[in-house]
Subunit: 224 residues, 2 copies
């Protein structure tokens, strides 16, 4: 029933446009009553994002199940991958919705509020993990926002490619940028020599970003 309503809604949105489709049109095509629609979806907007509530719950459960000593930045990156999987499970639907959302300002606003809830869930986890830090809430908020922005940048580029290509690899790459900025260690490569030593000499007055750039170059990891 729920799936039938979503399918009917999207068929009509694509044929007639979102604004021109009423809930009555959707239930008529699905062959059910109005009450059935509102049992599943509080409004017409909600049928466009049928999986977000479940996905938010999955992500929150994933974070709650974290080991106490899990590396926190890596953990929120993994939580973002939970969201990605929802999109990647059904590329055709995700691409259709992406196009629809771009066209309808009301849906764009709805999506912003959903994204905000994901970001808050990540930030809450990080705030708890950083509770002992003097600037824990600042760091938590900034890192959560960076993770969401990286995830969305990669997701949108995959959606713009019509869901072709490897969504997972694109997102991994984007999250790697956040991890390099905020201190999570990338997984050790097989060809790394752990006992090798690197010496960096720098003027004390050198700006930190120059020093980091120097080290990145030496270690063979660039963020650019």
């Amino acid at each position: 029933m729920r799936e039938a309503l979503v399918a009917a809604a999207f068929q009509l949105f694509l044929e007639r446009g979102y604004e021109q489709t009423t809930v009555d049109d959707i239930v008529a095509l699905a062959g059910v009553g109005r009450r059935s629609f509102f049992r599943y979806f509080p409004s017409k907007e909600d049928v466009v994002f049928p999986d977000h509530e479940r996905c938010l719950a999955d992500m929150t459960a994933f974070l709650a199940a974290s080991e106490p000593d899990a590396e926190p930045v890596g953990r929120v990156c993994d939580a973002a991958r939970v969201v990605l999987r929802m999109y990647a499970e059904n590329p055709t639907f995700s691409v259709q919705r992406y196009r629809l959302t771009k066209q309808v300002p009301g849906l764009r606003a709805y999506e912003l509020s959903v994204v905000w809830r994901y970001e808050r869930a990540l930030a809450e986890y990080l705030r708890a993990r950083f509770a002992a830090r003097r600037e824990g809430t600042l760091q938590a908020d900034v890192i959560a926002a960076a993770v969401v922005a990286a995830h969305n940048n990669a997701l949108r580029s995959w959606l713009r490619s019509d869901g072709r290509g490897d969504a997972s690899a694109t997102v991994d790459h984007a999250l790697g940028y956040v991890q390099s900025a905020f201190g999570a260690a990338p997984p050790r490569r097989a060809d790394e020599q752990p006992d090798d030593v690197v010496v960096v000499v720098s003027r004390r007055g050198a700006p930190l970003w120059r020093v980091v750039q120097e080290i990145e170059t030496t270690l063979g990891r660039t963020t650019d």
Copy 2:
């Protein structure tokens, strides 16, 4: 006229609540007609955020006037300070609005869409500056999101303190965290000795964040 409408609207929002106040109530108190209201504000929501359009325009103009070789992360941080000044100019009004926005879900959604527009303006500037980088759009989106999150974390903490305290110093501090993560140099302190040399020795296999932490400690700059 515009200021009188804003003042009347907030007087009624505080007395009766936002939902219970109509545009008719506002124009009656301000002593003007409905058409005058809608000449200035497309909807009741817009009267809650009367300065954002001007502020967005100011911020965009500020970025457009950047020197071509301005350090880009520092520049978007300065652009965020343009927004802060709008809030700090009128602490009482900003605190009232903050409380109202927390209570009314529709206003929260409106605010998210405004914040999104600020974030896009910062990201567009960075995308142009990073056009030659292979991952310029990713980096631009992530840094813009981090700047907005840091700004908002500091702004909210100032608003929660009822607009007491130094908004500017709080935001400077928060933006400093983003600058330290994404490569902008902090301004040189008077007590720094520019010709002093720092030597860091590290295992090649050490995660980058450990190395950076070591350097920060050595240089006497911590992000924590």
